[in-house]
């Protein structure tokens, strides 16, 4: 399969992008920043082509379905969502500083897809439970929300690093000078969550609607459902603490990281540690 080979090479391209974005931070040359951005868009383009090709390949095998149906495909799509959302933010903010903290996520997830044992890149036909149009709406909204939370986590890490550096009382120089201000980082942590939170709600709702068609119950406290709700609660706490409780900065940054840990557990932990209806992905 050509698509799987393309995806392996995209993995290395994301690693390369990560290196470029770190170089930009280290050498603070705008040209390096532009090169990193250009490379990231190119990688995303190839990544998109690989996903589309895999879709075509599944039709050639006579079992055509959108490439969103197993662990491998979901990881590849997750990585794609992270890269896309990051580049859209970069375009809007006109700054490539965050790239060094966003691209590693895109790299790690796609690398896991290609390298992890037990994650097969085979195109399998859809089992009866997955033969539903809800699959697309559910998977797309969930992974866009996860990706938004991943970005928020990356920015939170930047925030905490910068805060720690500032608390040392040293003069801002080099690496740190390029970082956006604490307020700007804090704002970005919040904005990415405000995008992810409703998307996760839609993801849960489309999942519930689907479950209602497939299993006859929109909510059955299955571990995946429950963990997605727990994740949603963490971000609900974030939003309320910030809006009403006026939490800012360090505390909300930590909450955002906790939220992303919950995301990761919802995604992987439930599959590997707990058992339930969601054994496919």
């Amino acid at each position: 399969m050509i698509s799987a080979k393309m995806i392996s090479s995209v993995t290395f391209l994301y690693l390369f992008c990560t290196v470029l974005y770190f170089n930009y931070l280290a050498f603070r040359s705008n040209r390096l920043g532009k090169i990193a951005t250009g490379m990231a868009w190119l990688t995303l383009l190839i990544h998109t082509a690989a996903i589309l090709l895999r879709w075509v390949e599944s039709y050639q095998l006579g079992i055509g379905h959108a490439p969103l149906s197993n662990m491998y495909e979901s990881l590849v799509f997750f990585s794609w969502c992270i890269a896309l959302l990051y580049l859209l933010w970069e375009w809007r903010l006109k700054s490539s500083v965050v790239g060094a903290f966003a691209m590693p996520f895109a790299f790690l997830f796609i690398a896991y897809a290609s390298l992890a044992p037990g994650v097969s890149d085979r195109i399998d036909p859809l089992i009866p439970a997955l033969q539903s149009n809800w699959l697309h709406a559910h998977v797309i909204t969930c992974f866009l929300s996860y990706a938004s939370f991943a970005l928020s986590c990356g920015v939170s890490i930047m925030y905490l690093m910068k805060l720690r550096y500032q608390e040392k009382g040293e003069k801002e120089s080099g690496f740190w000078a390029l970082f956006p201000s604490l307020d700007a980082l804090d704002d970005l942590v919040y904005k990415t969550i405000v995008v992810g939170f409703p998307l996760l709600a839609i993801g849960i709702v489309t999942g519930a609607a689907w479950a209602n068609y497939a299993w006859g119950s929109y909510w059955s406290w299955d571990p995946k459902e429950t963990w997605s709700l727990i994740t949603w609660f963490v971000y609900a706490i974030f939003i309320h603490a910030r809006f009403v409780g006026e939490w800012r900065g360090k505390r909300t940054a930590i909450l955002s990281i906790v939220g992303f840990i919950a995301v990761i557990f919802t995604y992987f932990g439930v599959n590997y540690v707990l058992s339930g209806l969601h054994s496919y992905a």
Binding site: I127, P128, S217
Partner: protein
């Protein structure tokens, strides 16, 4: 004194009920409890629990309701408390929000200064003369203002996206609606299960919760069940063809598949499992060691079948779909005159086993026609539409709360010498950056009073002349 104490108690109770602290505490407790619920298997059998836990642990977990946690009294209580907290917080906040719906055009001096965006400039002409143009300009680039004639000044007020302030209430309400829908479902609905064998009918189902029987009020016949597989062996489709029976009358016949249930009279049937209930017939090949011939015989379960041309016969006594991982197997009882009968197993996928048997006749299973049963999940949930309405409300609420912003602009016109002092203030409760650009536009429109924005009014003025 006691009355005052009562009042104090009530208000402090209200205070804590409507506090954000309670919200956050409840969300944390619910989240942590839910984690336990995903780690401890829910609604498993006592045997399964005792395999995983010590008897004492099992008893404690059972008493604390951790084995059916999401329906335990304390969990439901926490959900109810969260709902109350939601209502209390919303009511408390709503009083403040309501103020935005009855805005005054007039802004006090200190309020004016507190506005995030402020501008001041002078224009020619008296305020009274310029008023229509300012009003027009504001309408064109922003929205139609309200005008208040003050003692020495004109106050203009315009706003956009005020409903954005209601978004949060839509979201909170939607959660109550969803929980309400779930309550309706649990009181007036049921979830059950029924296994129907092909060709047979059922008119009642076994409920999930207590194993009680729930009559359907009509009959349900399974005409046929079929299962198909991909070449890899993974299942491709499970299909049950069902007929609804009202007494003797056949109302409708429809196939159901996974993801394609059938609803009749508010009760929905889902394809959930299947199995083999029996064997219609089996085709066997019988080989005679003493002659080269091989006989093909069709047999039914529990019926003695003669082996043609001999005085022997056999009977298929039992069928096991998967005999110890070796696939389908039949138990054969073999009769020969003046000899005790023999009893052995024949495996479809392992014909070599029977070849080792030293007897004269060897059996091979060519094929068999199973009689399937289909397992159906049967659900009645009159609350499900309420839940969907709640979800829809939530989406609308999210859009309003997070992607719309309430933007307000105040303009004050005061006489200054022979001209007008124009003061503008603005605020937006979200998307400050976007609003700054819009505010800029408003300022330009008010300044460009004599050029762009004024055009339509000058023309009409000219006509009047």
């Amino acid at each position: 004194m006691s009355k005052k104490e009562e009042k104090g108690l009530f208000s402090s109770l209200w205070g804590s009920l409507s506090s954000l602290r309670l919200t956050i505490a409840l969300l944390i407790i619910l989240a942590v409890a839910s984690i336990f619920g995903t780690v401890i298997p829910q609604n498993a059998s006592p045997e399964e629990y005792l395999r995983a836990y010590k008897l004492s642990t099992y008893k404690i977990l059972k008493i604390l309701g951790f084995l059916d946690m999401y329906h335990a009294g304390w969990f439901v209580f926490l959900l109810a408390l969260l709902s109350l907290n939601l209502v209390a917080c919303s009511l408390k906040r709503f009083r403040i929000t309501l103020r935005f719906f009855y805005p005054g055009a007039h802004l006090e001096e200190d309020q004016w200064k507190a506005m995030p965006l402020n501008k001041k400039f002078s224009q020619k002409g008296f305020p009274a003369e310029g008023l229509p143009q300012y009003r027009e300009a504001l309408s064109l680039v922003f929205s139609k203002p309200k005008v208040l004639e003050g003692p020495r000044a004109y106050h203009l007020f315009a706003e956009k996206g005020k409903f954005s302030r209601l978004g949060v209430y839509f979201i909170h309400l939607s959660i109550l609606v969803i929980l309400g829908g779930a309550l309706i479902g649990s009181f007036f609905g049921f979830r059950g299960h029924v296994n129907i064998v092909e060709g047979e009918a059922a008119d009642r189902v076994i409920l999930r919760s207590a194993g009680q029987i729930q009559p359907l009020g009509f009959g349900l016949k399974l005409e046929k069940f079929s299962v198909s597989f991909y070449p890899s062996g993974a299942p491709k489709e499970f299909k049950s063809t069902l007929t609804i029976l009202e007494g003797e009358r056949q109302v409708l016949t429809e196939p159901i598949r996974v993801n394609h249930p059938l609803t009749y009279k508010g009760i929905t049937f889902y394809q959930s499992s299947y199995g083999i209930a029996g064997i219609e017939k089996a085709i066997l090949a019988i080989k005679d060691r003493e002659s080269p011939r091989e006989l093909i015989v069709s047999a039914q379960m529990d019926r003695r079948t003669e082996i043609p041309g001999t005085s022997s016969s056999f009977l298929l006594a039992e069928f096991i779909p998967d005999f110890q991982g070796m696939g389908p197997a039949f138990q054969v009882i073999f009769f020969e005159p003046s000899r005790p009968h023999e009893n052995f197993w024949v495996f479809q996928h392992h014909p070599e086993i029977d070849q080792k048997r030293p007897d004269r006749y060897q059996f091979t299973i060519k094929e068999f026609e199973p009689r399937y049963y289909s397992g159906l999940q049967v659900t009645k949930d009159p609350g499900v539409w309420v839940v969907w309405v709640g979800c829809f409300l939530m989406m609308a609420g999210f859009y309003m709360a997070f992607f719309m912003s309430h933007r307000r602009v105040w303009v004050k016109l005061t006489e200054k010498g022979a001209g007008t002092l124009v003061e503008i203030a603005g605020s937006s409760h979200r998307d400050r950056l976007g609003f700054e650009k819009e505010f800029e536009k408003i300022e330009q429109a008010l300044k460009g009073n004599s050029s762009k924005a004024r055009k339509p009014t000058t023309e009409s003025g000219a006509k009047n002349d």
